[in-house]
């Protein structure tokens, strides 16, 4: 008990420091990332960083659904595939600009996300996870068999790198890196604002207790669908990013392993936190690269990591319960102060 208190104390101090100087810390990290390519201009290194960025986006998408709303999806590779296929088909065959194409991809994924969200109103828990798993596999099989649209198993080759105003963004001129950086920042910002908004609080209420949330007048059906749609759209955009990074997609790219990888990132980093997504993605994407020499053993280790995490730290690496007092918004604080002042 004593030990716990001590740890809590340390944690409190650490949190207080990081919280007080959070703006500076964020700025420093941001500057570091902006100048990073000029320090390490190694292409391989940059590719890995971009890949991590893509998976951060994907994890953020799933986090909305799994972390905040508490609906576990085992088929998010399906949304990634929809985004990747929609954008690359439009770019390759119809000469769309990448950004317009990925927007269309997001809309398509959003609509399909809404359809997939409908069963979530009827079934819950494990059953919902199973439906999403089936959904992921069906999307993969569709991509394989709908040859006219997706080119079947041959996949889509030579996906061009995106361009802005005639300037092509690729790994060598750091364009792709900065695009990834901006995307990650925008998506994080969006998720941050969403979580802090009324919608975000409704989602968290659903996760904590569906019944209580209904009692509080939250339209559960509406918010669950919203979570599905937003999550699908973010993942679809991640998918478009992925397709331009690799330059080639085929149905086998988006298998069950990808879904579990995204879910593992969310869980490892800490469900329902934003910072956790970064940590999770860095560990799980960099780990296979760093441990390339381990050959087959690295997949065994990957499994061991999952099992150990669940056993000893199921809330994720950064998913600690905050020991800081609950932060009140400014207006509430003023009101509380006023009330307290009245009492005194």
């Amino acid at each position: 008990m004593n030990k716990d208190a001590k740890e809590g104390n340390l944690m409190y101090k650490f949190q207080k420091i990081t919280y007080t100087y959070r703006i500076y810390l964020l700025l420093i990290t941001l500057i570091l990332f902006v100048i990073l390519p000029f320090v390490f201009s190694n292409q391989y290194f940059l590719t890995i960083i971009i890949k991590i960025g893509v998976y951060v986006c994907l994890a953020m998408g799933l986090n909305i659904l799994t972390g905040y709303t508490g609906l576990v999806s085992l088929g998010h590779a399906g949304f990634v595939a929809i985004g990747a296929y929609a954008s690359s088909i439009l770019v390759v065959r119809h000469g769309f600009n990448f950004f317009a194409a990925s927007l269309v991809g997001m809309i398509v994924a959003g609509v399909i996300g809404m359809i997939l969200g409908l069963p979530s109103l009827r079934v819950s828990g494990t059953y919902l996870s199973i439906i999403t798993l089936g959904f992921g596999e069906i999307i993969k099989m569709t991509a394989m068999n709908f040859t006219a649209l997706t080119n079947g198993t041959l996949g889509i080759k030579n996906i061009p790198k995106p361009g802005i105003f005639g300037f092509t963004l690729n790994v060598t001129n750091y364009g792709l890196y900065y695009m990834m950086l901006i995307t990650v920042i925008l998506i994080s910002l969006f998720c941050y604002l969403l979580v802090k908004s009324k919608t975000g609080r409704a989602l968290q209420a659903i996760k904590t207790d569906e019944l209580a949330a209904t009692m509080m007048g939250i339209n559960i059906n509406y918010y669950k669908i919203i979570a599905f749609v937003v999550s699908a759209m973010i993942c679809a955009f991640g998918g478009s990013l992925y397709s331009v990074l690799i330059g080639y997609i085929d149905p086998n790219t988006f298998n069950f392993d990808v879904s579990t990888l995204i879910l593992s990132i969310v869980i490892l980093g800490g469900m329902g936190t934003l910072r956790g997504m970064f940590v999770g993605a860095i560990i799980l994407i960099a780990f296979p690269e760093v441990s390339r020499f381990l050959m087959e053993y690295r997949f065994v280790l990957y499994g061991i990591i999952l099992v150990l995490m669940m056993r000893f730290r199921p809330q994720g690496i950064l998913g600690y319960k905050s020991v800081l007092p609950y932060a009140l918004s400014k207006s509430v604080k003023e009101r509380v102060d006023k009330l307290e002042g009245n009492v005194l």
Partner: protein
């Protein structure tokens, strides 16, 4: 041709049913989808291949593999899942753990045995019986017979023995069962053992049917068997059998009328439709929603 395809589908479905039993047993007791079951099935098949190859003889080889796989099941429960239960972790934690375990088992098999497909001796011989245009191989017939026998044995264990009574009690309410003096941990471990044994029999039969085994064989088969289990009503043994057969036959029908490439999708489409229309499956009991 349709009759032939139905028979092919039934043999295929029997394979799914045998794997589905494992999902059902564990889900019945723990309300947990054991994603590592496909890997356990592959492990059982590989072990059976190794022990039969070591001149143990077919029966002794399969029995050794059954015991070994059963012990693996117990180890999984004791090392990874029981601590989670004791901590009262969320269901998602156990689910992820089983995905991790599946990763570990499959890849350890690949490390030690290699990922390539290997020959599994044909246990039942090559012969076949002809009815007009329809050909039934001995393997197909034996597969159906052995599966049915296994189902009957399992039903006997679950419905007629003391341990079966304990299993059903734990299934209904593990707390109350513990108060009645049932050793719940032992019952769960026994269930894992039973699931492992079934998986080995499934592995040996299906491996013998196609005459190939490889570490990744459990992945697709596992997912489809899972669909079968859900269709039949997860947690119910006759349901697993019927679900397996339905999935097998509809797969063969899809292959016949739509083309072989659509057959894999059909299992998942069935799965989703069942979950939306009748989440408890054909034989499943109505779940009690606690408020």
């Amino acid at each position: 041709m349709i009759v032939q395809q139905i028979f092919n589908g039934l043999a295929l479905g029997m394979g799914y049913a045998l794997i589905a039993v494992g999902y059902s047993l564990i889900f019945g007791i723990l309300r947990l989808v054991n994603f590592s079951h496909g890997a356990i099935y592959a492990f059982g098949a590989e072990m059976a291949m190794i022990f039969i190859g070591m001149r143990f003889g077919i029966t002794a080889g399969i029995v050794t593999a059954m015991i070994l796989t059963g012990v693996l099941g117990i180890c999984i429960d004791k090392l990874a899942l029981e601590p989670l239960r004791k901590k009262k972790s969320k269901p998602i934690a156990s689910l992820i753990t089983t995905i991790g375990i599946s990763n570990i088992i499959t890849n350890l098999l690949i490390v030690f045995l290699g990922s390539e497909k290997r020959n599994f001796n044909n246990i039942f011989g090559d012969g076949s019986i002809k009815f007009g245009n329809t050909v039934l191989t001995h393997t197909q017939i034996m597969m159906c017979l052995v599966s049915l026998a296994l189902m009957l044995i399992l039903m006997f264990i679950v419905y007629k023995t003391k341990i079966g009574l304990a299993m059903r009690a734990t299934q209904q309410n593990s707390k109350a069962a513990a108060m009645m003096g049932i050793n719940v941990d032992f019952v769960i471990a026994f269930t894992f053992f039973l699931a492992g044994v079934c998986a080995t029999i499934a592995g040996a039969l299906v491996g013998g049917y196609y005459q190939i085994v490889y570490p990744n064989m459990g992945f697709m088969a596992g997912l489809k068997a899972f669909a079968a289990a859900v269709l039949g009503g997860i947690g119910s043994l006759p349901g697993a059998l019927l679900g397996g057969l339905i999935v097998g036959v509809s797969e063969s029908m899809a292959a016949t009328f739509l083309g072989s490439t659509y057959r894999d999708a059909i299992a998942f489409i069935i799965l989703i439709i069942v979950l939306i229309v009748k989440p408890n499956g054909l034989f499943g009991r109505e779940g009690i929603k606690k408020v």
